[in-house]
Subunit: 160 residues, 2 copies
DNA sequence: TTCCTTATATCAGCGACTTGTATAAGTTGC
DNA sequence: GCAACTTATACAAGTCGCTGATATAAGGAA
């Protein structure tokens, strides 16, 4: 059956907006800025990136990202490294501590989410679980056509 | 009874975290604070609320919410009104202009989302569409057990 | 080298949040 | 009906993270 005209983007935008509010209320990143958490997650997911790329992707200015990276570095959550191919640039990487921070944060959110999910009918949980891979692909798309890895320096990826 | 192995909350937390990043990058609310947008959406969805309730729900302090409501009121997006049942309290309502602001913001996000969704396989779009009602119920749960409407003043709800 | 572009860092300023406190209204006890 | 306490919102001072403008350093072209 050809159900709906596929999808109502307006409703999706509203729904995802509420998801944002929900995630904000869980594991409140009041101790750490939203952009900081998001940037760490981006680095974890997509690997080392340059400052400017991070700034564009996170929707902040380059000075803001420089400042943020300095903060993250000071706290040991990320680190700067040189980019052999370009002496002007630096690559930012998430550290082990940074990954641990992300993991801990997600664990806290997961606990709260589990409690909420328990209040949903099984069918809803299944629908959410079924949509998760699709959502991951959706969120991955923003990197696809507009940004490619900056020639990751530590990995021995002999690609050309 | 073992909980449902149905869903991996950790993975869900990570996935929803990426959704947050995505929505942040779309329709960047750089002109208006995240909390402002979220608060307007909350008012639109759940109706008039008191300042303190809004503060708790949005995860900010009460003074911050007072400040925010003043800002919203100054820009005509929300308005304060008295609460007949309690002279100390005020109820905050979203105005027509506030709803328009939300609608416009969602329309912009919807446009971007549509472009992204076009890059997904049809099955992914269907999965997301199918999960949307479940996500809406999930995000609605946070209001359920902890907060009830503060006796909405303008509506003629002959409550019982 | 000289000029231009690119990438990051620094500086000044502002906006949105925090804690602490003040004012006003409701509630209880006598 | 007044005193004391609680509750709800508003105000004040301070901090943090952002923006815009600008400086410094490195790569590329002539």
């Amino acid at each position: 059956m050809d159900q709906s005209p596929e999808i109502d983007e307006l409703e999706l935008a509203a729904g995802l907006g509420r998801v944002v509010s929900l995630m904000r209320s869980l594991a409140l990143p009041r101790d750490r800025s939203m952009t900081a958490v998001s940037t760490l997650a981006t680095l974890e997911r997509f690997g080392p990136r340059r400052v400017t790329e991070l700034a564009v992707f996170e929707g902040v200015t380059q000075p803001a990202m420089t400042q943020l990276v300095s903060r993250l570095e000071r706290e040991g959550l990320a680190e700067r490294g040189p980019l052999p191919a370009d002496g002007r640039a630096v690559v930012v990487r998430v550290t082990t501590a940074g990954r641990a921070e992300l993991a801990g944060r997600r664990a806290a959110q997961a606990r709260d989410l589990a409690a909420l999910l328990a209040g949903l009918p099984a069918g809803d949980r299944e629908a959410i679980a079924a949509a998760l891979p699709a959502l991951n692909r959706l969120t991955g798309l923003t990197h696809g056509p507009g940004a490619r890895p900056p020639a990751d320096p530590p990995t021995s990826r002999s690609d050309g």
